[in-house]
Subunit: 437 residues, 2 copies
């Protein structure tokens, strides 16, 4: 597993002198992150997580996943933000976006509690009718509105179907470690649900390799040992401040150089639809980390070649405010070749017998060259394939790049103060006690 | 059906004087569109389509859809860009994003030929195994690489399963009307496939209410008569140049005023996940129409409240380069209420018994107020519900708004010259005859 930072489609946009001029700031940012790792009060537990994770809990996650896979047809994952996007990104990355339609012996993985939409929750309940169901509610506070609503609905459903006693073994709670009065953790202990930990020193968007992401990922049939091994490898490779060779630091530097030159938007791209939610995960990681103090690069995402016939037009010829970061995969899971057709009315006879992957690679190269020539800088991150190891590796790469990048930009990459604003208004409108004024 | 343009969350961003100053340009843009409607060589057939559509073909679409719904379990729609996004947006809007998991007696609708990804095509083929299959290839030229590859693969699959003769009734071709040597239309006539028309005077991204979108939409079980009735109503309502009352013109003016004030990005939002692909359709419509000559507003999309825990942070506090256009729905398809829970450890007891729709509406109001207060102008488009009539109405509203807006911006909203750039490079890399140099 690896990520190769390929800069040929950046040529002409960043000079060697500009890269050199960013060295001091980037090294300082990486050192700041390292020094925070020593300070246990800082939310940077994800930096050492690939080595320091709780091995006992990890074993419990694997055991619970095995039981869940045997006991249920549908596993409902209740969470929002980092308690939703990481697991979904991982499962679609490894198992494909059609995993629920093709699930075979794997349980369907459904996500709930990530919106307040009525039809969405109604349909998720419908999909559980007549099926054996288990659920995982993921919420540090236990009081976030979206998952709280879904947890009530699904707990009621389970208790109706299996009784209060029978539901106990079907409800899994990932929450704060401390047992305090009136908390979800205390409630889970009283009710007898198995619990896992949302770590104190890891923010939601950095938490996919904790129990937050790992339980659903393991239930989906992914190898979480391999995922952690990938993250460990990345941790080792990037645990230095060697600006000339460290791809995490170079990527962080490139982002800030381009931003300073007027590129206000980063479009994360891939040529594989299974990476759609990797894009969503990246958008949360970067938007919540950097989008504050009226600063930051706005993160978008595309799936090409689909979106070459959509926003691709803007990327090619629109306002020059964009750079792209494109993830490539060296090999697909399945190979399929272009069949022969005597008629050849489609004119693609010249690529008969070629694999789709071969053609897709040429679409990638062709569009990157076209975008570069149109004035769009492109960072390419080459990965061998979409498996568990590479997912773990990629997560670590982006988390560290995001943190270093945020320090260069001069903001705190670990808070998200703006997320409270809508909640406060909503609570007031709903008449929540304490918010009436 | 209707769209109400609600401007309360725009307050403080656009003055009456600014609105008035845009009148002349906006009226001129609307008049330019009208004058083009008289000129049959212009690609504005979509303007009068709600009245002038081919009634005989429309009846054939309904008859074919009825046959297809009886003869197959899986309907594979092969197309890219406008031959993909419109139908998918409509089906998810009306039937929900889980329609394939909940399909019941409806055939599954799968989309292929919208990327060159190997796993995606492989899995779509896998989903057809053991099922009764029919396909619809949608391509004006018949030579676009992505759908051409998928059509070869699925035609081979059908001919293996049903024989050459048996496949004829399972292959539906939507393409150019003219029978010319070596075209898909000629091929379809020779092979005996039923054909439908991609109109000459309607570009891909404006084509969802032609056979391009209507056949798959009808196969999915949507009422296409109601959809056209919705478009007709919008056609009548907005067929004037009364700047003071015409919401299409006001929206077009607002977009351009905000853009001139430094808002380079429009984020299309909804509080309903079923509108995810409405967002994708809007992104194609606006990006391809406006993103040229180094101009244009970059279109993004979000689903809230999900993304309030993601890019919402950036919207609230990031760089002030964004405005939002948010679609609301007055009612969901299904109502679900928040259950009672004695323990109330989640603290949401104060909204027990309330419908999710009620709470979602407060999340909408709360976030719009928060974003406005954070410096983000918000256009609100209020719709009654997500049914066929409203989809047709909405499509027409946005198509006309996009055209008028593009004329105000000073570009041609009907071409997409930048889409060719990647193709030319790709053909060269693939060694396509004529592109070797």
């Amino acid at each position: 597993m690896s990520i190769k930072l390929e800069t040929r489609f950046l040529e002409g946009f960043i000079s060697d002198a500009e890269m050199a001029s960013m060295k001091e700031k980037t090294v300082a940012a990486a050192e700041k992150l390292n020094s925070n790792v020593q300070d246990k009060s800082q939310p940077v537990g994800w930096v050492t997580l690939p080595e320091n994770y709780d091995k006992d809990e990890f074993a419990r996650i694997k055991a619970a996943a095995k039981r869940i896979r045997e006991m249920c047809d549908v596993f409902v994952v209740i969470g929002i933000g980092g308690s939703y996007l990481g697991a979904r990104a991982a499962i679609e990355f490894v198992k494909g976006e059609n995993h629920n339609l093709l699930s075979g012996n794997d349980p369907m993985i459904l996500f709930a509690g990530n919106s307040i939409d009525s039809d969405s929750l109604y349909e998720t309940v419908e999909l559980c009718r007549g099926k054996r169901v288990a659920i995982n509610v993921i919420s540090k506070s236990g009081t976030t509105t979206e998952p709280a609503i879904a947890f009530r609905v699904f707990r009621e459903l389970l208790e109706k179907e299996y009784g209060k006693e029978g539901s106990k073994e079907r409800i899994f709670v990932t929450t704060d470690a401390r047992i305090r009065p009136g908390t979800l953790k205390e409630f889970a202990e009283i009710e007898g649900y198995e619990t896992f930990v949302v770590p104190d020193d890891i923010g939601g968007r950095y938490s996919v390799l904790s129990a937050v992401g790992l339980l659903p990922i393991a239930v989906a049939g992914c190898d979480i040992d391999a995922m952690m091994a990938g993250a460990q490898k990345a941790r080792k490779e990037f645990d230095n401040t060697d600006y000339e060779t460290n791809s995490v630091m170079r990527y962080a530097a490139i982002r800030n150089i381009l931003h300073a030159k007027g590129k206000d938007m980063e479009v994360f791209g891939a040529f594989v639809p299974d990476l759609r939610f990797t894009g969503e995960w990246l958008k949360q990681l970067f938007a919540e980390s950097e989008g504050k103090e009226n600063k930051g690069i706005f993160p978008g995402s595309v799936i090409y070649s689909t979106d070459l016939h959509s926003v691709g037009q803007y990327v090619q010829e629109g306002k020059r405010i964009i750079f792209q970061t494109v993830i490539t995969l060296g090999a697909p899971r399945h190979t399929i070749s272009i069949p022969h057709d005597e008629a050849n009315i489609d004119g693609i006879g010249y690529i008969e017998g070629k694999s789709l992957h071969y053609v897709n690679d040429k679409a990638f190269l062709g569009s990157m060259a076209a975008h570069r020539d149109g004035g769009i800088p492109n960072v390419i991150l080459e990965m061998p394939c979409a498996d568990e190891e590479n997912f773990g590796y990629m997560v670590y790469f982006f988390e560290k790049a995001c943190a270093v990048s945020g320090y260069i930009l001069g903001i705190n990459p670990f808070d998200q103060p703006g997320v409270e604003a809508y909640k406060t208004n909503m609570f007031r409108l709903l008449g929540k006690p304490g918010y009436e004024a």
